[in-house]
Amino acid sequence: MKALCWEGINDVRVQDVPDPQLLNDQDMILKVRLSTVCGSDLHLLTGHIPFMQAGDVIGHEFMGEVVEVGSGVTKHRPGDRVVVCSFIVCGRCWYCRNELYSLCDNTNTNPAITQHLWGADPGGIFGYSHAMGGFRGSHAEYVRVPFADHTAIPIPEAVDDMSALFASDSAPTGWMGADLGGVKQGDVVAVWGSGAVGQMAARAAQLLGAERVLVIDRFDYRLRQAELAFGVETINYAETSVGDALLEATGGRGPDVCIEAVGCEAHSTGPQYVYDQVKSKLKLEMDRPIAVREAIYNCRKGGSVFVLGVFTGVVDKFPLGALMNKGLTVRGAQQHGQRYIPMLLDRIASGELTTSHLATHVMPLSEGARGYELFKKKEDDCLRSVFRL
């Protein structure tokens, strides 16, 4: 079958790879219909996550049709339309039972790497490096889905393929940021990053009762899109001081909840960007936490900051003083998708949540390299490239 493979830093190519097989009783094989790029893939492309092998199939946000199920699969049948969460979960360990799905104990087949790196291993992810299990990704005609009953979720009739696609990763990630960030009725919420994840977090904050939501980015087309889709307020950090704008919007208090949806390759207009870039090139710092610093600095006293952006290692100049003295709660997580996906699909069906506008560039898999190029360079007003299989 054809699949889009990581072949080296900033080098992805469509290759012929063997078809996936059922390897476990609880596996199923999915015929992929739609698979989208995600900001997390950019960290693989740039080599920020150096646990890739040439020939690894990438992609982790997808939906499709079941074609084969193992003897231990009870919830899905060939022909079913499902959305698959980017995280593979067993559904029965303590973490899964407590709805902390991305922390599943039984799905990372290479636990040693992250145990040494982070002290403990999170669950496995599709197409997201050998540190996260080395599973083949979804930019392919077929994909093997382990623990299929728990990892994949049926799509209701009323939800079309494109809308369901984003219930795999960006929508549940955004929802988790607002939910676990503790958004309450009447809150002012600031979201850094107007990509798919940031936009979904902004919408989630509104639906959870936030009175004002402000989205921060430097790409006007992305800010405009968030404004059009959800009626949020926007701040272009290349033109306006984010701190001043947030103080003005909150009567001098600062936002109640700050959601960071940017990640380890954050960009900045100030001198700290050069400092972080130089340091990360020299390997003195692995990640660039620019938006995290800004969120902590601008959050109101006693407020909450949720880190959705992906980080892999150590960071520098972490504003510990602000965190401690302002009494902040700082949390982060990989998405606990299965906790939210059924509810999100219902909200999509009822029209409360729109997601399909995120797919600005739909193309065949053969154009995979171009899809990543557009997404990475934010060209042609690209928000997400989606591959149709």
Binding site: N24, Q53, G55, G72, W94, K283
Partner: protein
């Protein structure tokens, strides 16, 4: 490849080598030094009565202790070698036993790519045995 790219690859290899080195050290000196443990999300009676083969097969070379975990966290299975069982074998056995008890099977890894490249080969050295490594 640009310089930044090379530096990033070097980090990956360094991490891989560090993991491999740590494991080599581990298999020499911690065969029987401490209890290795996993917590299983099942009741102690269930764990006792259905100990998976992965662990049961070592019964004459290891001490096995089963006790309730604190809170609602299930059951702690702890093992300590009384003979020459290498720690990585015990880690692997504990992880497999836990997965079987909780989820009914152990997820098999997807097949590795055919042309991993030099960095990928270094990584494969680690991942081939990574199931028996780590901090467990």
């Amino acid at each position: 490849m640009n310089t930044a790219g090379k530096a990033l690859l070097a980090t990956g290899v360094a991490t891989a080598v560090a993991v491999a080195r740590r494991r080599r050290r581990a298999s020499h000196d911690d065969t029987s030094e401490r209890w290795l443990a996993v917590t299983v999300n099942r009741a102690p009676e269930e764990v006792q009565s259905s100990m998976p083969d992965d662990l049961a097969r070592w019964h004459d070379q290891v001490e096995i202790s089963v006790r309730p975990a604190t809170g609602d966290k299930g059951t702690e299975i702890r093992v300590k070698s009384t003979g020459e069982v290498p720690a990585h074998e015990l880690r692997l056995a504990l992880r497999r036993a836990k997965s079987v008890l909780e989820a009914g099977e152990v997820v098999r890894p997807d097949t590795a790519p055919t042309h991993p490249g030099p960095m990928g080969k270094a990584l494969q050295l680690v991942t081939n045995r990574a199931g028996g490594g780590g901090r467990l």
